[in-house]
C-alpha cells in the first residue's frame, strides 16, 4: 500500500478507536443511569430512594396477583429470583401483563417497602411460538427462573 494511504488508514483507525474509547468511558461512568429500572434485589439492598419516582422491573410472581373487592387496586409481587418487591397499582393493566411474565412498574417506594405504581408496562420476552406449540411446552412462564429479566 502507498505510504500516504497507509498513514491515512492509520489515522482513520485511530479516530474510530479514540472516539469509541471516549464514548465507552462515558457510558461506563454512567452505567448506573443506563438501566431503565431497578431489580428487586436493589430494593432489598436499600439502594433505592424512598418516595421518589423510580422504576422497578421483574417477573410477576405466579399466584401473587390479588385484586381488591371495592376498588381498582391490584396487588402483586415482582421478583428477580433473589428478592421480591410488593407492588400496588390502581389503574388498568396492559393486556400482556400476566403472572410469570416480566413487567416494568413506575412509581414511588413507600416507607413500608411496597411500591405504589402509577404505570405498569408489560415487558414481553424474545420468544415467538404458535399457540399450539406453547400449549405443549410445560410451564409457559418464561421469566421466573432468576435469569436476567
Amino acid at each position: 500500500m502507498h505510504p500516504a494511504r497507509k498513514q491515512r488508514l492509520i489515522l482513520v483507525l485511530v479516530l474510530v478507536a479514540l472516539s469509541s474509547a471516549a464514548v465507552g468511558f462515558v457510558t461506563y461512568a454512567m452505567r448506573n443511569n443506563m438501566d431503565y429500572f431497578y431489580a428487586p434485589t436493589a430494593f432489598a439492598a436499600g439502594e433505592v430512594p424512598f418516595e421518589k419516582r423510580i422504576r422497578a422491573g421483574g417477573c410477576v410472581v405466579p399466584g401473587s396477583v390479588r385484586r381488591s373487592e371495592e376498588s381498582l387496586d391490584v396487588h402483586f409481587a415482582i421478583t428477580d429470583g433473589e428478592a421480591d418487591l410488593q407492588v400496588v397499582f390502581d389503574k388498568i393493566l396492559p393486556d400482556l401483563f400476566a403472572e410469570g411474565e416480566a413487567a416494568v412498574v413506575t412509581g414511588q417506594l413507600m416507607r413500608d417497602g411496597t411500591m405504589r405504581a402509577d404505570q405498569v408496562l408489560a415487558k414481553h420476552d424474545e420468544n415467538y411460538t404458535p399457540p399450539e406449540v406453547a400449549e405443549s411446552m410445560a410451564g409457559n412462564a418464561t421469566c421466573g427462573d432468576g435469569a436476567k429479566i
Binding site: R5, L15, V16, D35, Y36, F37, Q119, L121, H124, E132
Partner: protein, 247 residues
C-alpha cells in the same frame, strides 16, 4: 496489479455502466422476496401464543432495524475508503446511503412505537435500546445536514466521513444494549451463535423479509448513487454523451 480492480471500481463511469445491468435483477428479486415474505408473514404464519396477531409487525420492524444498522457500517466504511484512497465514488456511495439509512431507522422506530402500544402499554420509553436507536437516526440526519452545509463538495465529503466514522461506536451499543443494561425492549430473538428463540414457522418468512430488505436496500442504494454520480459528473464528456443519447 492486485489493486487495479479496486481503482477501476472507483471510477464513477465504470460504476454507472456496470450497474445498469444489475438494476432490473435487484428490483425483481426484492419485489418477489418482499411480496412472498409479506404474504407468508401476514397471511400464513401462525399467531403468537402471547401477542396474538400484533407480533406480525416484526416482519417489518426487524428487517428495517437490521438494515439501518448494517447500512450505517456501509456508510462509514465507504467514508473511510474515500478518506484513505481519495476515491470519489466511495464518497458518493456514503452520501447516497445516508437518507436511505435515516428512512429505515425511522421505519424501525415508528413500527416499534406502533408495536409497543399493544404489547408494552406505551408508545415510547427512554430505555437504552430505543434511545440509542434515536441517536442513530440523529447521526444519519447529521450526515445529511453536513453534506449540504459546505460550498465545496470535497470538504463536505470529508466532514461527512468523519462524522460517520465517529458514529460507528453507536452500532455495537445499539446491538448489545439489551444485554448490557435493563431495558424494556426484549433481548435479541435471532442469534448467530445459538438457536433462535422463534418458531421455524415464523422464522422463515422473517428470513425472507430480511433477505428481501437487503435486496431492496442494494437496489435503492445503487439507484441513488447513480443519480448522485450523474449530478456530480454532469460536466464530464461521458455524462454529456449519455444525456445526448437519451434525448
Amino acid at each position: 496489479m492486485a489493486w487495479q480492480w479496486f481503482h477501476r471500481l472507483g471510477s464513477p463511469r465504470w460504476f454507472y455502466e456496470k450497474t445498469s445491468a444489475w438494476l432490473p435483477w435487484l428490483a425483481a428479486a426484492s419485489a418477489l422476496l418482499l411480496a412472498v415474505g409479506m404474504a407468508w408473514g401476514l397471511g400464513f404464519a401462525p399467531q403468537d401464543a402471547k401477542q396474538g396477531n400484533s407480533y406480525r409487525i416484526i416482519f417489518i420492524h426487524v428487517p428495517a432495524a437490521f438494515l439501518a444498522l448494517a447500512g450505517y457500517y456501509l456508510m462509514a466504511i465507504s467514508g473511510a475508503i474515500g478518506l484513505i484512497w481519495k476515491m470519489k465514488l466511495s464518497f458518493v456511495v456514503m452520501r447516497a446511503a445516508a437518507p436511505i439509512g435515516a428512512a429505515l431507522t425511522f421505519v424501525s422506530l415508528f413500527t416499534g412505537a406502533v408495536w409497543g402500544k399493544p404489547t408494552w402499554g406505551t408508545y415510547w420509553v427512554w430505555d437504552a435500546r430505543i434511545t440509542s436507536m434515536l441517536i442513530l437516526f440523529f447521526l444519519y440526519v447529521g450526515v445529511i445536514a453536513l453534506s449540504g452545509a459546505f460550498a465545496r463538495e470535497q470538504l463536505a465529503d470529508k466532514a461527512c466521513a468523519l462524522l460517520a466514522l465517529v458514529g460507528t461506536v453507536n452500532i455495537p451499543i445499539i446491538y448489545k444494549s439489551v444485554d448490557w443494561w435493563f431495558t424494556l425492549h426484549q433481548p435479541a430473538t435471532i442469534k448467530l451463535t445459538e438457536s433462535s428463540s422463534i418458531d421455524p414457522s415464523m422464522f422463515y418468512p422473517l428470513l425472507t423479509m430480511i433477505i428481501g430488505f437487503y435486496c431492496f436496500y442494494a437496489w435503492v442504494l445503487i439507484l441513488h448513487t447513480r443519480t448522485l454520480v450523474l449530478k456530480r459528473e454532469s460536466r464530464t464528456q461521458w455524462v454529456q454523451q449519455l444525456l445526448g443519447e437519451g434525448r
